[in-house]
Structure formats: structure tokens, C-alpha cells
């Protein structure tokens, strides 16, 4: 097979634009046509929204389409589907599953959520206790349990779900991975109100939920290996954003400092400058990582960017509340909202301060990520542990 060049891709982009002018084509129709042209994610196989091209060529396609005013597929709203469900389905799904799920997922007609974390299984995800029992006769799976921290569960059509199918095995075994219909009877979604007053996330209660065996992803009992694919892709999608100098959380506090001299004190000045420098260094580190990736020499810095930004966001927003003095005592609005995405800089300092507390927990706690850096980057040995070979049912909880 000849390699697909950027030029050939751009020709396809122009053909797509000619056949479906963005100005007159309905959004969803355009996105479907783009998928069918193999320009959705060019590194995916032909017939599944791609052309088997190098992933690095996607940026040129996106830029060309953006310049032509074509609609994008709003990756912020459908991030879990794009970032986590899709690569997992691609890697482990049957042909039937790939063709059924990937196109509406990419187009955004079907939103996905992730039913992984449980009240008793967060960082120790493999300890999960949601049960899936196979019904003799129908071969369907009956699922009972509770999930938590589920973004988009209230808008999602489908979920990726891991459940325990054999409690007698050690915890990393006996897990099976499913695609769960969020409209199925027994699926109950409740908003989970958080520290900021709003509800970005949900609790999901699963009571006798029936999942046909054709919606199992991967082999029975092999769910942990499948879930690792999902989790690896989750980490890839965090921390890759490009920000300008003095972008991100440092921007509002620097602006307040400049515009409101009455708030300034010497002690706050020192802290502001320290954090300004650290934010600039974090920006440069992210930029260096991007340059390494572009040069085909990926470095391990990616594992660390989320840790750095979590700490910086918390320190900077804490400083900002303090800088504001009496105003820092106030909060903008405690109404329970259901935001579609997180907008850190669109709200006030108090919100930023509280929301940033989640940055060191969501997507892997800072403590777990430090372990990962220590073990995978620095090669330090793991702590001894005695839970790996015990049957799940015999673990303390």
C-alpha cells in the first residue's frame, strides 16, 4: 500500500468541501460525509472514518476544514467517546461493533460515558464490585451495582462499563468489559452535586440491567486488559493543550494585580511572582513535550504535566482568592448547574479555587501519578503488595 501523503489528504478534503459546502449542508450531514470520506480520524482504518494514514496528518486536515468554516465534532462535549470509548472499541471490538458504534460516536449523535469508578473503587479501580451475572438460556448479562463520578451520564446514549463476572478470582481477573445502553431499564442516573455547588458528574445505579452478550467487548474475564487500553488513552488526552505565555489560571490573577493596585502586598507579590515563573516553566515544559512528539522522540514528560498543572491550579487559585481580600469572602453563585464542560476562567476566583481541588483527583490522583512517574520513568521498584493474588471476594473492604 502506498503511503498516504498530506497532499492526497488535502485533495480529499477539497473534494468533500465541494460535494458538501459547509454553508448549505446541515451540521450532522456534513460530519457524516466527513466520516465516510475517511477524514474523521485519518489514522483509523478505511470504512471506519479513517484512511490508515499517519496520525500526524490529522492536524493539516483539521486546519483545512476549519479554514473552510466546516463544523467540528465538538470534542469537548463528546470527549469520553472520542478519547476513550473509540480507541477501545477499535482495538477490541468485533467488526459489527465497530461499524455500529464508531460513526454515531464520532459525529456526536451518540454521546458516551464511562462506568468505571465506584464508591469503593477509585484509585484501586480493579477492586470494583459491580456484578454481571450471565443468565442461562438467553446468554444475556444481568448487571447490578453503583458507579460514580460519571461525566455526561445524563446525556449519554451509551457507556463503557466494567463489571465483575467472577468474584472467586483475584481482582484483576474475573472482570469483563461491556458496552451498556444507558436507556436500558434499571439504569438510573442521579446528579452528584459537588464542592462548587454544580453537578458536572453523576452517580449511576444499575439494578438488574440486561446487556446482551453481543455488547461484550473482549473476552469474558479479560476486562482489565481492555480497560487498560481505555485508561492509557485517557492519559494521552489530558494535558496536551497549548497555552500562551500567561495563559490559563495565572491570567486572571495577573490581570487583577495590574488593575487593582490597592490589593497589592509585598508577601502576595513574592508568591505571585513565584507562581508566574512556575506557570511559565510549565508552559515551556508542555511546549517542549509537543516539540518532542512532533520530532518523533516522545519524552516521558507527558506523565508529569497533569501533576504540575493540578498543583499550580490549586496554588494560583488559592492566591487569587486571598488577593481579592473582602471580595474573596464571596462566591458568585451556588445554584446547582449542570455544565457541559468545565470553564475555569469564565467564573470567579472562588469557583476556580474549589474546582481546582478536583484537578489532583480526577483522571488519576496525584499520588497514583507520582507512583507511575517513580516506577515507569525513574524505574523505582513497586511497593510490596499482598492483594494481587487474593480472590476478590476475600479482599478487605
Amino acid at each position: 500500500m502506498t503511503a498516504i501523503t498530506a497532499d492526497r489528504l488535502l485533495t480529499r478534503v477539497r473534494d468533500l468541501l465541494a460535494a458538501h459546502p459547509p454553508a448549505t449542508t446541515p451540521r450532522t450531514d456534513f460530519l457524516r460525509a466527513r466520516y465516510d470520506a475517511g477524514l474523521a480520524w485519518v489514522h483509523y482504518p478505511e470504512g471506519l472514518g479513517g484512511l490508515g494514514a499517519p496520525r500526524s496528518l490529522q492536524a493539516a486536515v483539521d486546519a483545512e476544514l476549519e479554514a473552510a468554516g466546516a463544523p467540528d465534532n465538538d470534542p469537548r462535549r463528546i470527549g469520553i467517546g472520542l478519547g476513550m470509548a473509540a480507541p477501545t472499541i477499535l482495538a477490541y471490538g468485533t467488526e459489527e461493533q465497530k461499524h455500529r458504534f464508531l460513526r454515531p460516536l464520532w459525529v456526536g449523535e451518540e454521546v458516551w460515558c464511562q462506568l468505571f469508578s465506584e464508591p469503593g473503587a477509585g484509585s484501586d479501580l480493579a477492586a470494583l464490585g459491580t456484578r454481571a451475572v450471565r443468565e442461562s438460556g438467553s446468554g444475556d448479562w444481568i448487571v447490578d451495582g453503583q458507579k460514580v463520578w460519571t461525566s455526561s451520564a445524563h446525556t449519554a446514549r451509551w457507556a463503557i462499563l466494567i463489571a465483575r463476572t467472577d468474584p472467586a478470582l483475584p481482582k484483576h481477573q474475573g472482570i469483563t468489559y461491556f458496552l451498556c445502553d444507558m436507556h436500558a431499564p434499571g439504569v438510573e442516573v442521579r446528579p452528584l452535586r459537588q464542592i462548587t455547588g454544580e453537578a458536572e458528574f453523576n452517580e449511576v445505579f444499575l439494578t438488574g440491567v440486561r446487556i446482551p452478550d453481543s455488547h461484550r467487548l473482549g473476552a469474558v474475564g479479560q476486562g482489565w486488559a481492555v480497560a487498560r487500553t481505555t485508561l492509557m488513552n485517557e492519559r494521552v488526552s489530558i494535558g496536551g493543550m497549548r497555552i500562551p505565555r500567561e495563559g490559563g489560571m495565572i491570567a486572571p490573577v495577573a490581570t487583577a494585580w495590574r488593575e487593582r493596585p490597592e490589593l497589592r502586598t509585598h508577601a502576595l507579590h513574592q508568591r505571585l511572582l513565584e507562581l508566574w515563573v512556575e506557570a511559565e516553566v510549565a508552559r515551556l515544559t508542555g511546549e517542549r513535550l509537543r516539540q518532542q512528539l512532533a520530532a518523533g522522540q516522545p519524552g516521558p514528560e507527558g506523565s508529569g504535566m497533569k501533576l504540575t498543572f493540578a498543583r499550580l491550579n490549586q496554588e494560583i487559585s488559592g492566591l487569587e482568592v486571598e488577593l481579592l481580600g473582602e471580595e474573596g469572602l464571596l462566591y458568585d453563585d451556588w445554584t446547582m448547574r449542570r455544565p457541559e464542560g468545565v470553564d475555569f476562567t469564565g467564573r470567579e476566583a472562588g469557583y476556580r479555587y474549589l474546582r481546582a481541588k478536583g484537578n489532583s483527583i480526577e483522571g488519576g490522583t496525584s499520588e497514583i501519578l507520582l507512583n507511575i512517574v517513580a516506577e515507569r520513568v525513574l524505574g523505582l521498584p513497586p511497593e510490596p503488595r499482598d492483594d494481587k493474588d487474593l480472590a476478590w471476594k476475600d479482599l478487605s473492604r
Binding site: P244, R245, E246, G247, G248, A251, P252, A254, T255, W257, R258, P261, R264, T265, H266, H269, Q270, L272, L273, E274, W276, V277, E278, E280, V281, A282, L284, T285, E287, R288, Q291, Q292, A295, Q297, E301, G304, L307, T308, T345, E367, L370, N371, V373, A374, E375, V377, L378, G379, L380, P381, P382, E383, P384
Partner: protein, 377 residues
């Protein structure tokens, strides 16, 4: 999101990677230092009271051509840039090498390049060839953006008098660059009185330089001289970040190696989460220092308009990382880290001294405040 304000917006994209040529230079310098400047050798040298290693300097400066990296080819140099000089400093920091690279090949060279006078050219040629060591007779703590001191007076006929303290590498110098009230002068080191001081960092010796009607060759007028010194201090501070990076990298790697092999409580101590998290955080800091130091070197190499800010950021950040890396190295080596035989102390002393050299982190944060328009109350 608030739009970035114009004073802090970076002018041009920054190349934060190391090029293939730079990696070749690194390999050459590292091979030399591995061979001739291992920890044992450095320890033995500092005991003699003459820490500088002239033979090592000669090979580095003339053999590899490192001394002339910043000097244009028409003046006998390599016509390279601050990016390459930064790579040399990373390696010198990694082995706390007792050679006058920062003082002669960076600071003095940059001053002479900044003078751009016919009188400076012959001396630059000598510096580029590595045959002459020349250091600026200013305190090592002198920082970019700080007022330049003026303790030396010209009493007529180019005869200079005055005293300057804490002059780094003066005892290894053939020529001193003296900033006097009437301009910049080249003074043979032999015609100055050098009184060695007892330095915290034994690998970068300090001396008090006393001039008593010493004869000097005038290289530049006072305005040119002061601008040249100010420019050299900026370059020096920016490139010192690379020395600090190399030093921190050594400390981290050495410490990781130690805790992997050292067993206590029937486990490698590196398997304890308390230590793993400390080292992971240190690794994050070092990754930041690498980006910051590269940004500074690149900004200097490309004469970027925001180079002063980028240098200030690098110094404000890398000083602390190097000190922390060296302190963690001593602590996590346990009792071994406190001994004279283990080289950790050389790194701690160099790191702490470097954190004062060419401006403290606090001084550089003050510069960041100016450049980023975040004024003090």
C-alpha cells in the same frame, strides 16, 4: 480566558530541543569529562588548593573547541551560539568540572564581543583558541539588571587602582577584564594582587583582586564597557541555568541509582512511597528546569526580544531546582551523603554557590516583575 497582554507575549517560537549537532558536542564533552574529570579526580584536586585542571581545560577549550563557541569564525572561533555553549555547561555542571568556562568562555568572551572594538579582537582570538584564560574582575554575585559597581579608578596613563572581591576563577586567569571609571581594561593577571578567598564551592575558586597602579590596555569607553558587561551578565545568567540543569540531572540520576540498590527493612529503599514521591516530584522539577534552560539558551542565541524575561524565568526557576536536587541527593544517600568521600557535597556546594551567582532567584523574580509588568506594591 483573558487575552495575554502584549508585554509578556513571546515574540517567536522557541526551539526547546537539542539538535543532532548539539548532541554530538555533548557526547564529545561528556567523553572527555568521564575520562578526565570523574568525581575522584575532582575530589583529589580540590584537596591540593589548586582545583583548576589546566590540561583538562586545554583539551576542552582547544581540542574540542568549546572555548570559541560564541566567537565568530573570522575571529578564530566556532561561530556557534549560546545553544551549543549551554550544552557544554550542562556537561560541566554534571561533573562539577573545575574549569573556568563560565567566566572565560562565556562572561569574558561576551564582554569582549560586546565591546566590538579593534583592541578587543586580538584578545578574543586568544580566548577562542583556548591559549588564554580571561575572567572579568567583578564579583560572582553581580547580576544582570543590577547597578554595576565602580570600585576601580584610572589614575592616568591607564594605571588602575581598586579592589574587587569574590572574583571567580581569577587565580586561573592570564588576563583580567577590569571595569573602571574611564572604560574597560585588559590587565595581565600578573600585575594584580590576587588573594584567594575560602570559597563555599571549592570547584569554582574565588579571590580578591587588588590593583595598585596596575597597567591595563583600554578596550572600550565607559558607555560601551557598561553595556557590554550588562549584556554579558544576561548571557551568563541564561547559560548558568544549563549548568544548574546538568548538576540537577546528575543529582537525580545518582540518587535514583542509590535508592534502587540500597536495601533497608528487607526492601530497596526506593520502593518506599515516601521516597518515590519525593523523587518523582524532583523529576518534574528537573523536566521544568530543562525546558526553562533551553528556552533561555535559545532566546539568547536568536537575540529574541523577550530574552531578558526568558533568562530571568530560567534563573528564578533553575537555581532552586539545582539546590533542591543536591539537597535531596545528600539526604537520600543517608550517612553516605554527609561524607567527604562521596561527591554529593561537591554538587551541593556548587548548587548553593550557583544560586547566588549572577543574581539570586529572588533578584530574577524582581526582574520578572518588571518585564511582565507585575509591579511591587
Amino acid at each position: 480566558m483573558t487575552a495575554p497582554t502584549t508585554p509578556v507575549a513571546p515574540a517567536a517560537p522557541t526551539d526547546l530541543l537539542h539538535s543532532g549537532t548539539e548532541e554530538e558536542l555533548r557526547a564529545a564533552v561528556r567523553a572527555l569529562l568521564t575520562d578526565r574529570c570523574d568525581a575522584k579526580t575532582v575530589l583529589a584536586r580540590i584537596e591540593t588548593g589548586r582545583p583548576h585542571d589546566p590540561a583538562l581545560w586545554h583539551t576542552l577549550a582547544a581540542g574540542i573547541g568549546a572555548a570559541g563557541l560564541l566567537v565568530p569564525e573570522k575571529l578564530g572561533g566556532q561561530g556557534a551560539s549560546h545553544r551549543e555553549a549551554a550544552v557544554v555547561l550542562e556537561e560541566l555542571g554534571r561533573s562539577v568540572a573545575p574549569v573556568p568556562y563560565l567566566t572565560s568562555a562565556v562572561l569574558a568572551t561576551e564582554i569582549l564581543l560586546g565591546c566590538d572594538t579593534p583592541e578587543a579582537a586580538p584578545l578574543l582570538r586568544e580566548l577562542a583558541s583556548g591559549s588564554t584564560v580571561c575572567v572579568p574582575a567583578v564579583p560572582l554575585t553581580l547580576a544582570p539588571g543590577a547597578p554595576l559597581p565602580a570600585p576601580v579608578r584610572e589614575g592616568g596613563a591607564g594605571l588602575l587602582s581598586g579592589t574587587v572581591t569574590s572574583v571567580a576563577d581569577a587565580v586561573a586567569a592570564d588576563v583580567l577584564l577590569v571595569l573602571a571609571d574611564t572604560g574597560l581594561y585588559a590587565v595581565p593577571a600578573a600585575s594584580a594582587r590576587l588573594t584567594p578567598q575560602v570559597p563555599l564551592d571549592l570547584t569554582r575558586p574565588l579571590a580578591t583582586v587588588t590593583l595598585e597602579a596596575a597597567a591595563g590596555t583600554r578596550l572600550a569607553d565607559p558607555g560601551t564597557a557598561r553595556a557590554a558587561v550588562a549584556g554579558a551578565l544576561l548571557s551568563g545568567a541564561g547559560l548558568l541555568a544549563s549548568e544548574q540543569l546538568g548538576l540537577a540531572e546528575w543529582c537525580l540520576a545518582e540518587t535514583v541509582g542509590h535508592v534502587r540498590g540500597r536495601h533497608q527493612f528487607n526492601r530497596p529503599v526506593g520502593s518506599f512511597q515516601a521516597l518515590k514521591h519525593r523523587l518523582a516530584r524532583l523529576w518534574l522539577d528537573v523536566a521544568g528546569a530543562r525546558a526553562a534552560a533551553r528556552a533561555a539558551a535559545d532566546a539568547l542565541a536568536t537575540a529574541a526580544p523577550d530574552a531578558p524575561l526568558t533568562v530571568a524565568v530560567a534563573q528564578a526557576y533553575c537555581s532552586g531546582v539545582a539546590v533542591r536536587a543536591a539537597e535531596e541527593c545528600v539526604q537520600l544517600h543517608g550517612g553516605i551523603g554527609m561524607t567527604w568521600e562521596h561527591p554529593a557535597h561537591l554538587y551541593l556546594k556548587r548548587a548553593k554557590a550557583d544560586s547566588l551567582a549572577l543574581g539570586t532567584a529572588s533578584h530574577h523574580r524582581g526582574l520578572v516583575a518588571d518585564f511582565a509588568e507585575l509591579p511591587a506594591p
